[in-house]
Amino acid sequence: MKRDADMGAVTGHAFFGITDKNGKETVYGFHAATALPENANLTFKEKLPMLIGNKVQGVVLDDSKDAYDDKMIYSISQQQYDKIKAFAEKQKENPPNYGIFSSNCVIFAYAALRQADLKLPPQPLFHNPASAVLGIRAYEKAHKIKHKLGNAAAEVLARFSPTRKISRGILEELKKKPAKQAVGVKSLVTSLAGKATAALKARTSSFNGR
């Protein structure tokens, strides 16, 4: 497929391949339909609003002829292969819309590989096609912002349980109560301390009274 030199060179792309037990590899990559041959004559400027603005039709293509700069290899079981293949084929048959922020090639590849519970590194910002749309200066800025968000996430993960669940019912109950009651431990400790002091006073005065 013919791709714009400016589009192909700067946007970056992510795709994945799965190899069956006979060594046959099938490669899948997710694209906006603007990348289809019939849109080859559209300029980058014409394509841009389609990608950023309203969502356009997505398409899953065979990217086996695409060159790549970097790759990761995972050894997977037959069961994992089947899960990834089933997901990719389903998406190929009925592709979702393409959205540069919410439904792009990186997200597609990650969603597919997650079907097999593969432990993947964080999604690389620099491979995201949106980064190229922004230009290098904005990309550097985005990288810094992502780093800050990563720090905030690390703090959240350090402070909150990854397993304990909170139900809707409990949250609704807590909303009805005043903040002091909802805060739990602090109010409980204060209340208990108050009660203990009162009890101690009562005992002391009763002792003094003897």
Partner: protein, 122 residues
Amino acid sequence: MSTQEELEAGRFVHRAMQYLKSAFPQETKEMDDETLKNKLIDSCQVALEYGFDTEADMMLIVDLLWRLPEDYRNRPEYEWATEIMASEDMDNETKIDSLHNALALLTALQEEDAADPNKTEK
């Protein structure tokens, strides 16, 4: 609902309020505890709506929501937030990562746009 469960949830809300105060000092400075608690619970309920039901997952979404404008659901440039949270193809970890990428890219784009010297005020 058991007392233990309620106590744990109360502790969670308390810790979450502390987190929001430290992570968003400007936004929470003028806010009384009651307002903060209710806003926190509203954000937690949004997280629950999309299946983020553990303390950590919920707070990762709360943290993100607090970085978006309040009316993000009605603004087309933030359409991605709901789309990613509602996606049936991604697990929670992938969703959080995608949300962070999208927010970082959009914020950078907005900052670049605001700083563009060629942009003239009408």
